[in-house]
């Protein structure tokens, strides 16, 4: 592409329009979180009538946000760790071995990605309950149940992306490791994984974001004890008032960890998606 004058104009227009499209909601979120309640109940203003930090103080009291935060963090981190570990093993098998049922596996796993959640929400709930009744393992209303559920949500895409990434790592590398006396697992651990670091990071981010943002299953599978942020944030519209300023403040606070994490690692994410997508 040459940077002709036409191209520069095009770029200017595209960046301005899309920049505004992206920025305005973010701007509204930030400024509204600094507004007193009466500002968000009246006509929209670009700037708070007086800047206040009270929404950021009150939001912890209106709903038990801190507890939801802890729940979301534990659930998302655990789901991510397990999902990535399991995906690495499966992707390694898919990428490096020829075995019966390989195609069946990849198609089946990938196709689970398109199951609409509503189809297995209730059955899954019932299965969890019955596991509890038969084995005493509590899965409904606990973080464990959410962790198990969420890790499978990101698994298909993670396996697919990692397998693509592993494929792009020259096989001669792990063959060399094999020759050096490592087993296949040693080759995975010493050679493939270090080379695939960007892919692994990308998959981890993806898994974390999936778990952090899930709404449907959280709305049915959580009780007060294990409620996550995605459901907890709805509680700001209570019987007596809708605290838009606190909602925006809370939305901002829950977004910060994921956004920062994502942006810090975006390079790897782009690389990971490239490998997966170009496969």
């Amino acid at each position: 592409m040459r940077e002709t004058r036409g191209f520069k104009i095009y770029r200017g227009v595209v960046l301005t329009v899309l920049g505004l499209f992206v920025l305005v909601p973010l701007y509204v979120m930030v400024t509204s979180s600094l507004k007193p309640l009466k500002d968000v109940q009246g006509a929209f203003t670009w700037w708070p009538s007086n800047l206040t930090l009270t929404p950021f103080v009150d939001m912890w009291k209106t709903v038990p946000l801190a507890r939801y935060f802890v729940n979301s963090t534990i659930v998302s981190v655990a789901a991510t760790v397990f999902s990535v570990a399991i995906a690495i093993l499966a992707a390694f098998a898919v990428s490096r071995f020829k075995f019966r049922g390989r195609t069946v596996f990849t198609t089946t796993v990938l196709s689970t990605q398109m199951f609409p959640g509503v189809l297995f929400l209730l059955p899954l709930f019932l299965i969890f309950v019955n596991i509890n009744n038969s084995f005493g393992l509590q899965l409904v209303g606990t973080r464990l149940g959410l962790i198990i559920t969420y890790l499978t949500f990101s698994l298909p895409f993670s396996i697919w992306m990692l397998a693509g990434y592993f494929d792009s790592i020259p096989r001669e590398l792990d063959e060399a490791a094999l020759v050096d006396g490592c087993g296949p697992m040693g080759a995975l651990w010493r050679v493939v994984l270090p080379a695939a670091r960007p892919g692994v990071i990308a998959v981890a981010i993806y898994s974390f974001m999936t778990a952090w943002g899930e709404v449907l299953f959280a709305s049915v599978m959580t009780t007060e004890a294990n409620r996550t942020l995605s459901v907890g944030l709805r509680q700001y519209s209570t019987q007596t008032n809708i605290y838009w300023n606190q909602i925006m403040a809370a939305a901002l606070i829950v977004s910060i960890p994921v956004v920062i994490g994502f942006l810090l690692a975006q390079r790897h994410f782009v690389a990971g998606v490239t490998a997966g997508a170009v496969k």
Partner: protein, 438 residues
């Protein structure tokens, strides 16, 4: 080969689990009634106060007193209205349920149909203090007519027409006694660009369906016949719905924006912040009105009026009921708890913070210091209220008719018109939906 056998093994294990699931539902039901060792009840309370935490603050000392008196511990969870219905459903489906739960009393007959709740038959009713202590209309909401109720009233609520005294005085108006007067007043109190006569929660299907019910009841129309079959398209139903829609459509006394008000809070806020002269709400609006800056003496309440010559129905019998899950392992303790929650002392303690009307015969309302308001609401609750249809399909009536009204309000708000024929067609669709799924 290997994969196939692996998959087969896994599938067999998993199917074993799911087959166990099929038979698992009634495992627990046999063990009810035992008063075994550790007595801890799980209690799901609905959100009645200003926030979930507020509810917890109010209820905790009350529950502690119960524990002190009986030695039975209560594990409380307050659940927001967004989640309550789903949570109850999943609890019923799974059998993994609390011992005692609050329900919106309008769901009583629908929930009764699931057979998951303990009927308050002779013994159980005696255990909680006998049916005579309750206001009869309130107890009538407990389940289908002619059956043992599966829920008993806990907090009573009723609709009233709240009006802004200063606005009425300034316009030289008296609070309305008939529908026609209400519309005339509302028109006079609608000042373009400044203030509206009324605020309606026109985007809330649960609010809308209540008004469909009340307005039809004023026309002496019913939504279900004696066999529990829907009769949504009767003339009285259609005209009742249309009359309510016309507040926005023909009379233009409500801001079209109201079509987006998806809960009662928003219309009450408009009233409390003096953007509108009247609002029809249940008496628990009091705490919101005060919380939003209006003082107690600034508003008055009259019954929501019927058209001249119509039936004097001003409200449905609204409120919260208390139910015990059938498969509770602590039946006696649960009944003791229900008795405690519905006794005179507890009632008077809780009615105040939750702005509730007493469900007990001899109790005096204490949710407000305004004696006239208290008397008005008690009169509405005890004599001008009619229970919503006490049929299993009540929940479907709520969602189908309520949502049809949402859609019609949306059409009006966005500049369209809704004729009687269109109301009838919409109600016909709702009726078909109810008929198809029952």
């Amino acid at each position: 080969m290997r994969l196939r056998s692996l998959v087969a093994a896994v599938a067999a294990t998993a199917m074993g689990i799911s087959l166990a699931a099929c038979g698992g539902g009634d495992d627990k039901s046999g063990s009810s009634g035992g008063s075994s060792g550790d007595q801890t009840l799980t209690y799901w309370a609905s959100n009645q106060g200003t926030s979930l935490d507020n509810d917890k603050e109010v209820l905790t000392p009350v529950l502690k007193k119960f524990t002190d008196e009986t030695g039975i511990k209560v594990n409380l969870e307050v659940i927001g209205w967004n989640d309550l219905q789903t949570r109850i459903q999943t609890a019923i489906t799974s059998g993994q349920a609390p011992d005692v739960v609050n329900i919106g009393n309008t769901w009583a007959a629908s929930l009764q149909a699931t057979d998951a709740f303990l009927p308050f038959d002779g013994d159980a009713m005696t255990a909680i203090g006998g049916k005579d202590k309750f206001v009869p209309t309130a107890l009538a909401t407990g389940g289908k007519e002619g059956t043992d109720p599966t829920s008993v009233p806990l907090y009573g609520l009723a609709y009233g027409l709240y009006y802004n005294k200063a606005m009425f005085a300034a316009a030289g108006l008296q609070p309305p006694k008939t529908w026609e007067e209400m519309v005339t007043d509302a028109k006079k109190l609608t000042v373009p660009g400044k203030q509206w006569g009324m605020a309606l929660a026109a985007g809330s299907y649960t609010e809308n369906v209540h008004f469909a019910f009340i307005n039809a009841a004023q026309n002496k129309a019913d939504w279900f016949n004696g066999d529990g079959k829907p009769t949504f398209t009767g003339d009285g139903n259609v005209q009742g719905v249309l009359r309510y829609l016309d507040l926005m459509q023909k009379d233009k006394v409500a801001n079209p924006s109201n079509a987006q008000y998806d809960n009662g809070t928003k219309s009450v806020n408009d009233f409390a912040t003096k953007k509108v002269a009247m609002v029809i709400n249940q008496n628990n609006a009091d705490s919101s009105i005060v919380a939003n800056g209006m003082k107690a003496g600034e508003y008055g309440v009259v019954p929501f009026p019927a058209p001249a010559g119509g039936e004097q129905v001003a409200s449905h019998v609204a409120g919260i009921n208390l139910s015990v899950f059938k498969n509770t392992k602590h039946k006696d303790a649960a009944l003791k708890f229900v008795k405690y929650m519905t006794d005179a002392t507890t009632q008077s303690t809780l009615d105040k913070p939750f702005s509730a009307l007493p469900v007990l015969k001899d109790a005096k309302p204490n949710f407000t210091t305004d004696a006239a308001e208290a008397a008005t609401f008690q009169d509405i609750y005890n004599t001008k209220s009619k229970p919503l249809p006490l049929v299993p399909a009540e929940d479907q009536f709520e969602s189908t008719v309520g949502k049809a009204m949402n859609t019609m309000f949306a059409k009006i708000a966005t500049g369209g018109t809704v004729s009687a024929d269109e109301v009838k067609a919409a109600l016909k669709t709702a009726e078909d939906q109810v008929a198809a799924s029952s």
